[in-house]
Amino acid sequence: MARYIGKRIIYMVITLALIATFTFFLMKILPGSPIASADKLSPEQRAVVEARYGLNDPLPVQYFNYMFGLVQGDLGVSINQFKGANVTDVILSRMGPSAQIGFQGMVLGTVLGILLGMIAALRQNSWVDYSSTVVAIIGISIPSFVFASMLQYFLGLKLGWFPVALWKDGFMSSVLPSIALAMFPLATAARFIRTEMIEVLGSDYITLAKAKGASGSEIAFKHAFRNALIPLITVLGPMAVGILTGSLVVEQIFAIPGIGEQFVKSIMVNDFSIIMGTTIFFSVFLILVILIVDIMYGIIDPRIRLSGGKS
């Protein structure tokens, strides 16, 4: 196990170094200058600004400075949007709203999805089962931005139950974005749990439990549900990816001052350091989630042996 984790962490570091290097050089060959209204500055003024942000140093020097800062958690400074503010600070200051809707969406989606999948499996081929399949297909198929704009139009604009696009630190503003983000985990969990439950319900130990006279609810919750739940961990990774991808557009739609909204804005105005910083932040986040999920799976389910024979 330790060997496996060590190997995975080494891979993680290599991948991240690669992403950082790649992002750095991509930003350098990008058209457009990172300095706001660069054309309006005189050549002298421009030289001063460029010197201040180290843009005149030879490329390898800039690269090593950046990588060195990165190891220390320093993502550089934002040049045009925040006038020299630290990128790490900018990202951290915007983490709250993103984390809130992401977390709410994830919890809401998984809990409802598990319930839906469970009921569907226990009442196989009933109307509950069919409608759960329909919900799952719709949740996987309809992109989050379509769903988000539908919610915004009907529940926000037409019915006026929730704020349309206003973030006032309240729970109410986070309801619609959370629902929009919850659709994907909901659909994934519902489908997954249904398949797993049906498989588990057909296994010998359930038959034994029935033969020994266990009640229906006891079988469903104590025996079947527990075993069906474990493999759900494997789809937590894709779910996190889905939530993150969704957050870019959902934050845009509901005007939430989160990381995703900042990222899209930075792409529009060529704020290279923010783009680089966010890219690396997203990568670290997703790679960590997937690593934790894999390790957790190995610990929770002893039947899975990760290191291929050598433990």
Partner: protein, 339 residues
């Protein structure tokens, strides 16, 4: 039970001779794998319905811009922001060209003196939404199919070589894939789109740059499974070359998973194209894809919801159809499910 054979009328039964020659005869017509898969797919109502629906959408995407009297990019400013109006159906109270203006419901066609009917309405520049939506569908589908085809090509070749040759080659190739799959797709796509000139080609390249790794893994797994089986050994003993073994003996066995995987790549590509367009990294005006149409429509959601609703509806239909077809094919082609 007493057995009264003698009560049976004479001649009801014939005694037949046991013929050892017939023992090996195959009594049912042999069904090939693909015929069998098709038979199973036909039983799946959702998949067949989706197949027909998808066929219709492709048909309209090709025909729509042609039959519409207006070109997708021609602007008629006086006809801007008209709601949909379809003859015959308008009598039912929907698609009747009535929209809200200043809080009141009015027939905007009458008000603006428009004689023509715009089936899907018009956008803010007076462009016909009907031809724009179908043109956009065409572009979105093209991007998705091209990306899926390239993913498939690279993935199959890479996975095939890696799985077939094994050993060091496999080791090195798999380490590369492992690092590539570690990079979040979202990050790669956004970064690549940024350095290239925006357009159809840029989106296709961005989608395929790491998109093929999924396919390569699946193909490698299958090749690893089949290459140790006897029929491969037999082929090799008979002197077949590596290329022949891969193409003639392994590929037909791997084809099922390749098809299934491609069917799930396509909706993924459609989604990413729309997603990129929505955050402003997609096609540039006047080109339209479903994603850019949704993005344009979103800006007018409050006043002209039809501009958003129609492309969003078509996009959702395509995604649902593909997921259902993919599910159906997976069930049909998966030999484990054989009944």
């Amino acid at each position: 039970m007493t057995q009264n054979y003698d009560k049976l009328p004479q001649g009801s039964f014939d005694r037949i001779e046991r013929d050892t020659q017939q023992a090996e005869r195959i009594s049912k017509p042999s069904v090939s794998f693909w015929q069998d898969a098709w038979r199973r797919l036909k039983k799946n109502k959702g998949a067949i319905f989706s197949l027909i629906l998808f066929g219709l959408i492709v048909f309209m995407a090709l025909l729509g811009p042609v039959i519409s009297p207006y070109s997708p990019n021609s602007q008629t400013i006086t006809h801007a922001n008209l709601p949909p109006k379809i003859p015959v159906i308008e009598n039912l109270g929907i698609f009747d060209g009535v929209g809200t203006l200043g809080g009141k419901e009015v027939d905007l066609y009458e008000m603006k003196n428009v004689e023509q009917n715009y089936w899907f309405g018009t956008d803010g520049l007076g462009r016909d939404m009907f031809s724009r939506v179908w043109k956009g569908t065409q572009v979105s589908l093209f991007i998705a199919f091209a990306a899926a085809a390239i993913d498939m090509l690279i993935g199959v070749i890479y996975g095939g070589i890696s799985g077939y040759f094994g050993g060091r080659v496999d080791d090195i190739m798999q380490r590369i894939v492992e690092i590539l799959t570690g990079i979040p797709n979202l990050v790669v796509v956004i970064l690549f789109i940024m350095i290239m000139d925006p357009g159809i080609l840029a989106i296709i390249i961005a989608l395929t740059i790491t998109g093929w790794t999924g396919m390569s893994r699946v193909v490698r797994g299958q090749v690893l499974k089949y290459k140790t089986q006897e029929f491969v050994l037999a082929a090799r003993t008979l002197g077949a070359t590596d290329g022949r073994i891969i193409w003639k003996h392994l590929m037909p066995n791997v084809l099922g998973v390749i098809i299934i995987n491609t069917m799930f790549t396509i909706p993924g590509a459609i989604f990413f194209e729309a997603f990129l367009s929505f955050i402003g990294l997609g096609l540039q005006a006047p080109d339209a894809s479903l994603g850019t149409l949704i993005n344009d429509g979103y800006k007018l959601i409050q006043y002209q919801p039809h501009i958003l609703a129609i492309p969003a509806f078509v996009l959702s239909l395509i995604m649902i159809a593909f997921n259902l077809i993919g599910d159906g094919l997976r069930d049909a082609l998966d030999p484990k499910m054989k009944d």
